[in-house]
Point group: C2
Chain length 691, copies 2
């Protein structure tokens, strides 16, 4: 059975499901003109940002495509130009498809928010389903286009390197979308809170606040488009790594490649079925509904792949590795949940420490964030070890089978990604809906409903982030294997000695390891400083508006803030701040390769993965923890709203915002980008370096 | 020429110099009874802490010594019992000598603080010299005893493994002294500030504050005894690693071992000479005086070793590696200085960001802390690479020569450690002197002088910490080499295949790498949470005293706080909180070895070094930055004292306290301890593990 044809068909099915879900959402009633007006402002703001971002990206992609054309997979004067053209095209297609998925996601999310707000005036299930199905459009669009793209690129070129090029395209987009969106969303969020809640004491989502629309736009560009691009990227990268290794094993397209497409197809199919169960039952609540969908998807995937393995005679050991990956995803998710859930100890302890002042909120939050690194890293480490050990020996002549096992483990973790994205995109839609209910004055019951939906969104968000980081971790491990395979094929062509290992005691490897370890630190710091600088600009603008627009502060009829000015600041600032950070990561890779060659890059990737995972987990979990500690205090604990503990909690939450929504999750993308740059340039540094 | 005899003689000379300096300090006048009384309280407090710490340590050391006796270097039933006895004794001697040096340091520091305070009523040079020479006693005691110990252990046993045992003893002590002292000092500092400065608005060092003596005791046990033990540990570990590799090259005691003793002796000699220049010239200031001593020492060391290399025919390439290490020390120091000096951009920007509130102080401070990681790590990486490349090929049959080059580089960095400790111990002495001047009411001029001396102490402290971390970094790299040598000698004895590399692609190595990366995160978090918990206890006690002791708050004559209660809380809490953290690090090493064997431990060490360095640099530099940003605001910038920016700055400083004085510098020790545990247990895990 040729599973790449099945993969093609199921991708198309997923896109069809996306279209159907879109029609369903679109058909929901919306009649309130005020909400329609504000909804339109959000939609326009998101489109403005996306438009500008994509314009800059187009330039970036064009430049890189030209560089690829001249240099990759080999300098054009040294190899077959057809390969270079193919690589450049794959790169462009990868970035274009990811951009398209993001555009679709934003398009639907900015319709679904209005519909979900309106539905909240009727009943919770209707409102939930509108939000969830709106998010599911993004889920289907991302996984549909990514699987479609990978299938087409491999089928048309027959070359796994081209898939790496495709993946690099997706990564380039993710870098801009995730980091840029992350800076945008937190600039707006932090500024809105700082002036609105802290200085003036007006509620969240108050329409007098000039940053309120930018804040709602930010949810969309950060969490819908950004997170979608991030998971598009991880998903493609995990398939690319697996394909490179499978083709090394198969010596071309063979049984293992077929297995990858089979598992990926069944993962997508499971997600499609899981989505159909997304509704709140009697006495149910939105968190349970979201979790049930995930459980159904996970269960279906395990059963369907077992069935396929049995029917089509794939090796059970690879299936085992896949299931291990799936389980680690759960472990990482549960760990994130433990450290960020307000029913558990860490959040409560941080809330209590807040009574002694903000310094204690920060110290205890960072400490629990640091501790939260352990279970996730141990989970990833054990799954990599087990997958390797299980699969080693399937092909007795090589250890590539074992590395392939690790890549199947990453694939397993990402198999339910369609479901994960759906859950994740649900969050900003209902968050927006809540804002619309407040701004449109739809009444207390609707506010209560959207509050409940929003809270469920926040809970799954923390888990999803942990999941995304874990998935990136396993993926980049297999990318390390893919990098070695690429470097060796380049060395083989030149008739040079092959790389047998990346020995830590080798000085070039060690050099790379140490330098690589510093990069995620610098990258994340640059993004956070970007938010900092940008928020200062926006706060100044908000102050200006409150001063210069008569009657705005008092909420007089007809005194409307200039929302677009804030959106403009967030947009320009985000794009200005992210470019240097992205360049640092990419250039550092090239410099290390230039100095120490392919061995140094091997170490560099390992160092980058190691500190990248530590910092990403720390930031993501500490951020989630502070957010919920603040909410826990606001719910009346440790003094409740307005107490000193609450003020300290707000400081923690504000620090946590760029941690969890800008820097932390962007580190994933940085790691993937760097890994792909390394794989793609392996051919160059295999023949040239200083040491 | 037999340099081990010279090393012996120079160590004795250093101890003689220490005795002479002590006599000089002791002979300085002190007549003020109030200062004598408070000085005695500090002395008693420090001795109480040290006494209790050493009692617990004695139990710990005894238990470990018994374990060593049974299991190391080989299970006693499998090898020569004499070796086990030798190892156990070396271990005990290592911990005892380090404890002795700490005891001497505290003894003199708690005399010098009183004398320095008194001298401040006369002139600045006298006060400076008293503080500096008091600190120099610690410098001479540490380097004298450590060199003496290493020389004796190697000469008497002829076995580099015994030196590893000696080094492990020093590390065990450092773990307790640095982490325990770090928790003590910050518990007291944070609590004193929180209640004194923030709640009551009374000045620092106000005698009404029940925590004020504990705070002064903390400076001594944290910065004199703690930092001394840390550098004792690094110094011994760097020599141990170099000796293990030298003996592998020499096949016993030979030319390279001789060179190590030569360079170490000349380093100590240079420090002795450098110390003699410690005085403030006309129009000079204390910072310049401290720096001049360091420059003189550095210059002398480079010249003397060049001369020795020429005269005694050592290989110039090893000399080159040594000088590279010395230069990297400077780079790391300069980087720390840039990020923590209030004349430079980062401190100013953090101070400015503080105007928007404490959240921005934290975000920007952490961001610059993360960026500060880059120059130091690149410096360490390049020096390791260069040393390796220079020295590879000195012995054409092996790459051990190249690893030995790296260890010489670490040795070079630590060659001036006598000077570094002198500068470092100067800090708490003059800090104490400042407190005594304030508490004893010695007048404004004396306060101005001790303020100036204290400020110079703070500046060199940040640099010293960076230096200590860098030194630990290079040392553990060479310990990785030592670990491999130890593992191989165990494998050789069992007739098993030797380790040729620690390949990152090997699943056991990768497993270790990922798990190892999480340990410094967890370790540092546990220490910070310890400070947090302990400070909460002490704050409660301070509140109790202000409530229950009549007239204390108002400062009535005769109403004295119960200082000893606070000292007691800090002491008990510090010892209680540090033990679990230390055990986690050690046990994790054993578990990883048990699961993945010697290969996994190789990866584990690399992962541990990598994140350990990143977190240590981040915490140390961010902490220093916040401290100085607060002082910068207090000096009248960005609104000055009492402004919102100042309040935010105080939050940053409070977060920074456990960062820079507890967690950050303790990570060094954790890395060294783990490396030594790994080297010592290599024999066991070489023959047994699950995978």
């Amino acid at each position: 059975m040729n599973w790449s044809i099945v993969a093609f068909l199921i991708s198309v099915l997923a896109l069809g499901v996306a279209a159907w879900l879109y029609t369903w959402v679109k058909s929901q009633p919306s009649s309130n003109p005020e909400i329609a007006r504000i909804g339109l402002l959000i939609k326009q703001g998101a489109n403005t940002f996306l438009g500008r971002e994509y314009k800059i990206l187009a330039v970036f992609v064009a430049v890189v495509a030209v560089l690829i054309f001249f240099f990759l997979p080999h300098p054009i004067w040294n190899g077959n130009p057809a390969n270079n053209i193919m690589m450049a095209i794959s790169y462009i297609v990868g970035s274009a498809l990811s951009a398209l998925a993001g555009k679709i996601g934003i398009f639907v999310a900015t319709i679904a928010n209005v519909k979900s707000a309106e539905a909240a005036t009727k009943n919770i299930n209707q409102s939930f389903m509108t939000g969830f199905r709106g998010g599911a459009v993004m889920g289907m669009a991302v996984v549909g286009t990514s699987l479609l793209g990978v299938t087409l690129v491999l089928t048309l070129t027959g070359d796994a390197s081209a898939v790496l090029g495709f993946s690099f395209g997706a990564s380039s987009l993710a870098l801009f979308a995730k980091a840029g969106g992350g800076i945008f969303t937190k600039t707006a969020d932090v500024s809105a809170d700082l002036v609105g809640k802290v200085e003036l004491g007006i509620p969240e989502d108050d329409p007098r606040n000039p940053a309120v629309i930018a804040d709602n736009v930010g949810d969309n560009v950060g969490d819908v488009a950004g997170m979608g691009a991030d998971l598009f990227d991880s998903n493609v990268a995990s398939m690319a790594a697996a394909l490179v290794l499978a083709m090394t094993l198969d010596k071309g397209v063979g049984a293992n490649v077929n297995m990858i497409f089979c598992y990926a197809s069944l993962g997508l199919l499971s997600s499609i079925i899981g989505i159909m169960f997304g509704r709140i039952g009697k006495n149910g609540n939105p968190s349970t509904a979201l979790n049930n969908c995930t459980y159904i998807t996970t269960f279906l995937f395990a059963v369907l792949t077992a069935l396929a393995t049995f029917l089509f005679g794939f090796d059970w050991r690879y299936w085992g590795a896949t299931v291990i990956g799936l389980s680690v995803g759960t472990i990482v998710g549960l760990a994130s949940d433990y450290f960020t859930n307000d029913a558990k100890k860490p959040v409560k302890l941080v809330a209590r420490a807040s009574k002694s002042g903000p310094a204690f909120t920060i110290i205890s939050g960072i400490s629990y964030g640091l501790i939260s690194v352990l279970p996730s890293l141990v989970g990833i480490a054990i799954s990599a070890l087990l997958s390797f050990v299980i699969c080693d020996g399937i092909d007795p002549t090589t250890t590539v089978d074992a590395l392939f096992g690790i890549s199947m483990s990453a694939l397993g973790m990402l198999s339910i990604v369609g479901m994960v994205i759906s859950n994740d995109a649900y969050g900003p839609i209902v968050d927006n809906a809540r804002g619309l209910v407040e701004m449109g004055g739809l009444g207390d019951e609707a506010l209560r409903i959207t509050d409940e939906l929003d809270s469920a969104g926040n809970t799954v968000k923390a888990v999803t982030k942990g999941f995304a980081i874990g998935a990136a971790g396993l993926t980049v491990i297999s990318l390390l294997g893919a990098y070695m395979a690429e470097a060796n094929s380049a060395l083989l062509e030149k008739g040079l000695a092959l790389i047998e290992n990346f020995d830590i005691m080798n000085p070039a490897v060690f050099f790379g390891l140490i330098v690589g370890a510093a990069i995620p630190a610098v990258f994340s710091a640059m993004l956070m400083l970007g938010v900092d600088r940008n928020a200062q600009r926006m706060v100044a603008e908000i102050h200006r508006q409150f001063k210069e627009i008569p009657g705005l502060k008092e909420g007089k009829e007809g005194a409307t803030p200039e929302y677009d000015k804030c959106i403009d600041i967030a947009t320009k600032g985000a794009l200005r701040e992210l470019i240097p950070a992205g360049l640092v990561a990419i250039l550092a890779t090239l410099v290390v390769g230039f100095i120490g060659g392919v061995m140094a890059i091997g170490g560099y990737l390992a160092g980058n993965i190691v500190t990248g995972l530590v910092l990403a987990m720390l930031m993501s979990n500490a951020g989630g923890l502070w957010d919920n500690a603040k909410k826990f205090i606001e719910a009346g604990n440790e003094g409740g709203k307005g107490s000193d503990a609450h003020k300290a909690g707000v400081v923690g939450d504000t620090v946590g915002d760029p941690f969890k929504d800008t820097a932390g999750p962007s580190i994933n993308t940085q790691i993937t980008v760097v890994s792909l740059v390394a794989s793609l340039t392996a051919g160059i540094f295999a023949v040239f370096s200083i040491f």
